[in-house]
């Protein structure tokens, strides 16, 4: 029988499976105290998912406050929406706004790589859509176990095919991201997805249910039993073994329906038929109803029997918990309901009025004519438990820092340096990612100006003015392991720099914080330090964190993954025709290196690839320098001084030269500056650096620009032979050290992933 509110009030002593649902004893007690009785099984289901780490941020909240304390201003003015909304929204000028957010779908992607990754795309796209924006691009920061591990052959192709299968079918260009291998991710890949959307200022929508009497409409896919995790415990508790329990906990995606949902929703916005909106993601209806109600007039009354089902045997608990994909919930004025339903019908999207907004301060759910939920929605959605988890710097940290890379044997002389460069260019982390990115449609929508392997994806927003956005994601977890505070800032700095390198002005930040168990004080210390580093870094750079996601409990066996804050930065280009690509293409162009190279090899790819070593201190962080470097790159792009530019990061200058030469099909003649150690020159990973190829006649003005910003700059060579038309086979030459034909370089750089995964 149904566990109604009335029944629950009369039967206080019924044993409830709160522990099996992941609640703690004190949390269960708090629910009872809030309600003044025991919860019904439906209420218990709602609280258990909404108070989960994933939905409530109960372990991270106290730290994430550092982000909300930042000024909510970008270099272009106040943010239009920030943390707490489905995604942050920033002004990008000319009346346009951009919204963007990165989220994780790590655990499902290990269990079922294709669907896990696919539904990860679907979820973040609906977040962006819910803000009122047309989704315009995706980026996918991915982390896998060792490239040659047998399980990586299962996980990586599945994840990539899932992202491609869903994203391509939705008609969203994938323009960037990362692919990084490390043994710590062997049993726990990281699948993060960033989506960018664009809208006019006046089209920004919010997630709130206001206006008493307004209708609550569920539209999109029918609700099925997929994605029900812990709630199956409840179902079997209620019904015994013959009930529909133990549903698969990974959701199954339908990108075609999501595409219809996008077009349908944008038409609904366009017709002015939406008073409030929220996507259904984690925790399904429980989350959408309680969050909409608590952000609005505080009450909602819905009839659960009306939810269209894929499986008629679902219990009310399961319907409330189901994470079936491709669903949205809208708040609609009564006079608009008919038109709303007509638009949905045009797009063949099922839509159902479930109930209405009330001012009772209660979320009331009816099932079979009886009340099964009657709770204050804020206690579910925003006033859940908050923990001050203990954290402590691990004792092993000192030993890790002490074991620097200075004792590792280094290559000496031209032949050894040449061999090292080729070996690194072919290492999985530095090798070409074409095998992955070729599976993503980067052209759809016709507005992609730059896509991977460029430093940032660039999307044209306005075809007339040329206004566009640039987005990059980065996160070197090896640096974070050595020093979470500095490492997180280096991730921020790199993404910020990658946006600036294209000529875009960095505006705002989103982050996906992937860590181990928050119950481990050492992990919690990494997390707290990383958040502190990011927040302090954003303050210096003058960019706000507008949203993001925390993913805890990432570990392979008992070992936590490398602490991996992935940072996404969004920037704006007033005219995308001025964007700077990374490929070297014009023979004779002078090459300059910006920034200072120090002997910084701790945590580097060189230490990793050649010695399998991780220890020491990460490169020095200088965010003031990063800001000035960005100003130079943006100004130089605007003034048309640059043919090409590439940021220096993993693998150092050597890797940047490899990528830029191969991308443009041109060679380069490079000279090690006098008094500089050739090894550090090529492989050190000092931050705040970039290499640029100047436009004809730009040298004087560019030098002046660097002087104005008091920035170190040095001429290091020239682009040699241009393009496929050249009669000379292009080469990368390090004067007096070595020469490598581009064909040999290409073979080394581009064979690795096909050899592993074909």
């Amino acid at each position: 029988m149904t566990d109604t509110v009335e029944h629950a009030a009369k039967t206080p002593d019924v044993e409830q499976p709160w522990a099996a649902l992941g609640l703690r004893g004190d949390e269960y007690a708090r629910i009872r105290e809030t309600l003044g009785r025991r919860p019904t099984s439906c209420e218990l289901a709602i609280y258990s998912v909404m108070w989960s780490e994933h939905c409530s941020y109960k372990s991270s909240k106290v730290h994430l406050r550092r982000f909300t304390e930042l000024p909510d201003e970008t270099p272009l003015g106040k943010t239009l929406a920030g943390i707490g909304e489905n995604a942050g929204v920033v002004d990008i000028g000319q009346g346009y706004a951009a919204t963007f957010k990165v989220e994780s779908h790590n655990h499902p992607s290990f269990v079922e790589p294709y669907q896990g990754a696919a539904t990860g795309v679907g979820g973040i796209v609906r977040d962006i859509l819910a803000m009122g924006a047309r989704p315009v691009a995706l980026l996918d920061p991915l982390r896998f176990g060792p490239a040659d591990a047998p399980d990586t052959r299962r996980v990586l192709p599945g994840v990539v095919a899932g992202i491609a299968g869903y994203g391509n079918c939705l008609g969203l260009p994938t323009v960037g991201g990362e692919v990084v291998f490390d043994s710590s991710y062997a049993g726990n890949p990281l699948v993060n997805v960033l989506c960018v959307g664009v809208m006019r200022h006046e089209d920004v929508h919010r997630a709130h249910a206001s206006g008493v009497g307004n209708r609550v409409v569920l539209y999109g896919a029918r609700t099925g039993g997929d994605g029900i995790g812990g709630v199956s415990v409840l179902a079997s508790e209620t019904f015994g073994d013959e009930g529909p329990s133990k549903r698969p906990s990974v959701q199954v995606g339908d990108p075609f329906l999501e595409k219809l949902l996008i077009e349908c929703t944008l038409e609904l916005f366009g017709e002015g038929l939406v008073a409030g909106i929220q996507d259904l993601g984690g925790a399904g209806l429980s989350c959408a109803t309680s969050e909409l109600a608590s952000a609005g007039d505080g009450g909602m009354h819905i009839t659960l029997d009306r939810v269209p089902l894929r499986d008629a045997s679902l219990t009310p608990e399961e319907i409330l918990m189901s994470e079936s994909q491709e669903r949205m919930m809208a708040v609609v004025r009564p006079a608009d309901v008919e038109r709303f339903l007509a638009v949905c019908a045009k797009w063949d999207v099922p839509a159902t009025v479930l109930g209405e907004v009330t001012d009772t301060g209660r979320l009331v759910v009816e099932w079979a004519g009886e009340v099964v939920v009657d709770v204050p929605p804020r206690t579910v959605a925003s006033e859940g438990p908050v923990y001050q988890r203990p954290y402590a710097r691990p004792q092993a940290q000192d030993a890790l820092i002490a074991a620097g890379s200075d004792r590792l044997p280094r290559p000496a002389g031209g032949a050894e340096l040449r061999e090292t460069l080729l070996r690194m260019a072919a290492a999985p982390n530095l090798s070409a990612k074409t095998w992955v990115t070729e599976q993503y449609d980067r052209y759809v929508q016709g507005s992609t100006v730059l896509a991977q392997p460029e430093d940032a994806g660039v999307i044209r927003v306005d075809a007339d003015s040329g206004l566009g956005v640039a987005v990059a994601t980065d996160g070197n977890a090896r640096f974070v392991a050595l020093d979470p505070y500095a490492g997180a800032q280096l991730a921020l700095a790199e993404a910020y720099r990658n946006v600036a390198v294209t000529g875009a002005r960095p505006l705002a930040v989103t982050d996906c914080l992937n860590f181990g168990s928050p119950e481990d004080p050492g992990v919690m210390w990494q997390f707290a330090e990383a958040v502190r580093g990011l927040a302090d870094g954003c303050r210096v750079l003058g960019v706000p964190v507008t949203g993001g996601n925390v993913s805890f409990y990432n570990s392979t066996g008992d070992t936590a993954v490398l602490p991996t804050p992935v940072v996404g930065v969004l920037g704006v280009l007033d005219d995308v025709r001025r964007r700077t690509p990374l490929g070297f293409s014009r023979a004779g162009a002078a090459l300059f290196q910006l920034g200072e190279t120090r002997d910084e090899l701790d945590g580097s790819e060189w230490a990793n690839v050649v010695h399998g070593h991780l220890g020491g201190v990460p490169p020095r962080v200088d965010l003031e320098a990063e800001r000035r470097l960005a100003e130079i790159l943006v100004a130089a792009s605007g003034e048309g001084l640059l043919d090409a530019a590439h940021d220096l990061a993993d693998g150092g200058l050597a890797q940047a030269l490899v990528e830029s030469c191969l991308r443009g099909g041109s060679g380069a003649r490079v000279e090690v500056p006098e008094g500089t150690d050739p090894f550090a020159f090529l492989f050190a990973e000092s931050a705040a650096r970039a290499v640029v190829a100047l436009s004809p006649g730009a040298e004087a003005r560019f030098s002046e620009l660097c002087a104005e910003h008091d920035y170190p700059v040095e001429r290091i060579g020239v682009i040699a032979d241009a393009g496929p038309d050249s009669r000379v086979d292009p080469e990368l030459e390090l004067r007096d050290l070595f020469t490598i034909p581009l064909a040999e370089l290409r073979e080394a750089h581009e064979r690795t992933l096909p050899d592993l995964f074909d």
């Binding site: 391509n168 079918c169 075609f256 993503y440 052209y443 016709g446």
Partner: protein, 223 residues
């Protein structure tokens, strides 16, 4: 010239096709899959995408969309029709073009800038090119492997109905590197590559794709 671009549920490159038609000097007209007539257009583009999710077989459901009734009739009477990618699949399903498109030989979606050779300038959609001309246009498909029986392939070759061929690597295992074919009249053309993504050097690898849309306008102007 009024050129219709059909949007099926799941069409993705319809707006790009509209843009390409306009860039080439035509007047794009949006057609909806449920339309009962062609609104007086003088040619039609079936764009790329995943019509109806391509859940049955690519193009198999779109082929039965209401708008396809008048389209098939008009094509029979000489209306120029260009099917791009999913549109090509629809045209094969509708039997306006011979053969079929199957899963790529490497079982993966592939998106790359592809070198192509225009084999025939005799069709309504390729007359702006020189026969033998090499162009670069993006391909992006998961089921783009062109197949037909040997006799059909032989006759396509003999009749000059292979209009486009992959050069420098076959991205999907298509028979005889075929990237595009035309019907016997030369008015209905199907292509796997996406010329609508090669109309602006800012957003594509080249402007080599414009010729497909320009061909149509020249032909009408010359007539």
């Amino acid at each position: 010239m009024r050129v219709g671009v059909v949007t099926f549920p799941g069409s993705l490159d319809d707006r790009d096709a509209v843009r390409a038609v306009a860039l080439a000097g035509g007047e794009p007209v949006a057609l909806w899959h449920a339309d009962a007539d062609l609104r007086g257009v003088e040619a039609v583009v079936l764009p790329g995408g995943f019509s109806y999710g391509d859940y049955l077989r690519c193009g198999a459901i779109a082929r039965h969309a209401p708008v396809m009734g008048p389209l098939l009739k008009a094509a029979g009477a000489g209306l120029p029709v260009l099917g791009i990618c999913n549109g090509f699949q629809v045209l094969c399903e509708a039997r306006l073009l011979p053969g079929a498109l199957i899963r790529n030989d490497r079982r993966r979606f592939v998106c790359r800038d592809q070198r192509l050779r225009v084999e025939s300038s005799a069709s309504a959609w390729t007359s702006a090119y020189e026969p033998g001309e090499e162009i670069v246009v993006p391909v992006k498909n998961g089921e783009g492997g062109y197949v037909a029986d040997e006799r059909t392939l032989d006759s396509l070759e003999a009749e000059g109905r292979v209009v486009l061929r992959y050069v420098g690597g076959n991205p999907n295992g298509s028979a005889r590197d075929i990237a595009g074919v035309t019907d016997a009249s030369g008015r209905v053309v199907g292509l796997m590559p996406h010329p609508e993504h090669a109309v602006d050097p800012l957003t594509g690898p080249s402007t080599d794709g414009l010729g497909f849309f320009a061909s149509l306008l020249h032909r009408v102007a010359a007539a």
